[in-house]
Each structure stands twice: as C-alpha cells, then as structure tokens.
C-alpha cells in the first residue's frame, strides 16, 4: 500500500527536474528531453489519480499524452535538424534571429 501522496511527490520532483533542465540547459536536444521528462511526470500523476479514483479514463488519457508526445518528438527533432542545417549549431543562445 503506497499512499497517493508519494506518487504525487515523485511526479512533482520529475516535473521540477524537467522545468530546471528546460531553463538551465543550452543544448536544444537536452531542452527537448527535459520537456519529455515533464510529460512523464504528468503521466505518473495521471495514472496515480486513476488508481485512486478507480477511473480507467486516466489511463486512456496517458495513452493520448503519449501519442501527442510521439508526434511532438518527431516534428521537434525534424525542426532541430533543419535548425542545425541552416545555423550549424545546437546552442539555443546562438539561434537568436528574432532577438532585439
């Protein structure tokens, strides 16, 4: 018997790690992986709440989140390849065409 609280704490830690990585990392691929980490943290809380309330729709929602994450990964990595091809760098600070 594991309290729901523990799962939510773990989920929160994972989400916080994802946010921190998103903010402090400078490599565009690592930033992308931090987003995946945040999505995983949210998925864990979805499944934990589904178990708490005996509602299977939480698990179906996790399935949809995974589909969207897969689509996002495919398009995002294609964008990363396009950026690398034009600018020859993966550092987000060097991709500053729209910056004042």
């Amino acid at each position: 018997m594991v309290p729901l609280f523990y799962y939510l704490v773990l989920s929160g830690i994972l989400f916080a790690c994802g946010v921190t990585g998103f903010l402090i990392k400078r490599n565009i691929i690592t930033i992308f992986m931090s987003i995946e980490l945040m999505l995983n943290g949210v998925n864990l809380s979805f499944v934990a709440f589904a178990a708490q309330w005996h509602a299977l729709s939480g698990q179906v929602f996790v399935f949809f989140v995974m589909v969207v994450a897969a689509a996002e990964a495919a398009v995002g990595l294609a964008i990363i390849i396009a950026v690398f091809r034009t600018r020859e760098t993966l550092n987000v600070d060097k991709v500053d065409l729209l910056k004042l």
């Binding site: 018997m1 594991v2 309290p3 992986m33 998925n43 864990l44 499944v47 708490q52 897969a70």
Partner: protein
Amino acid sequence: MLHLVLFTVFGLICVAGAINLLVQTHPINSALSLVVVMGSLAVEYLLLGAEFVAAVQVIVYAGAIMVLFVFVIMLLNAGAEERSKGSIVALMLGVPGMLVGSILTAWVLVKHSGTQPVALGALPGHPKDIAQLLFHDFLLPFEVTSILVLIAIMGAVVLASRPESIEKTKKEN
C-alpha cells in the same frame, strides 16, 4: 510492504536519472539517463496496476521516442554543451520569485491535503477494459490522434528534407 520497498527503490532510481540528465553536459549521456527514468517509471505504473500503460511506456517512450533522440544526436554529431552567460536581471528577479512561488505551493499542499492511501491491485487495469473505453467512449479522440500522427509524419518529412531535394522533385514532376 513490498510495494513500498519497490516504490522507493525505483522512485530513487527515477530521481537519480532525472538529476543525472541535468548534470551531464553531453546530450547522449542525458538521453541514456532519460531511458533509465522511463524504464523505472514503467515499474511504477506496474505497481499502480496499470499494465497497459507500463507496456506502452516501454514500447513507445523508452523504445521509439528515445531511439529517435539518440539517432538525431548521432546524426548531428552533437558535442558537449557550451556554457553561456545568463542575464543578471533574470537571476535577481527569478530566484526570489521562484522561492516565493514554491513556498506558496508547498503551503497550500500541506494545508489542504486530505489524500487517502491507494489500494494497489484494486484497479481493473486490464487491457480489455481499456480497449473498451478507448474504442467506444473515446473513439472520436482516438480517430483525431490518427490524423494528428499523420500530420506529424508529413511535417517531419517536409521539415527534415533538404530544400534542394524538394526543388529536384518539383522539376521532375
């Protein structure tokens, strides 16, 4: 008791992997620690009685998505990350703001948490029940995701292809 031990062990592995993702400078090391995070999360899903989600987590996340990441890292021959100077204003405003926000959130959570223990294995997480839900109640969203995936495939192909190869196919037609 066994559940709690398993939860703690794999939760610690999960957090260690997440922190390792932040500490490593080379993206391939970050990608491999993300695989560790996703694998141990699959065990957490099993502990919650969600067998279907655990299997999908291993197949889609740890399998497909991470292979895509590792493939792109190797394709682009990404080296170690270079540090750059952050803005001082963001540091001066951001750190106190984040502290205040986290303290407020923690206060609300501690003050108003009336959570009860979740009984493990009590959830009817059989793939058959999920399929019933997915192909009956959630049929329209399911069909919409198929369109989303189709658009994502086309977008990825268009974005990742070289501009000159698109020009070439246009001339051939």
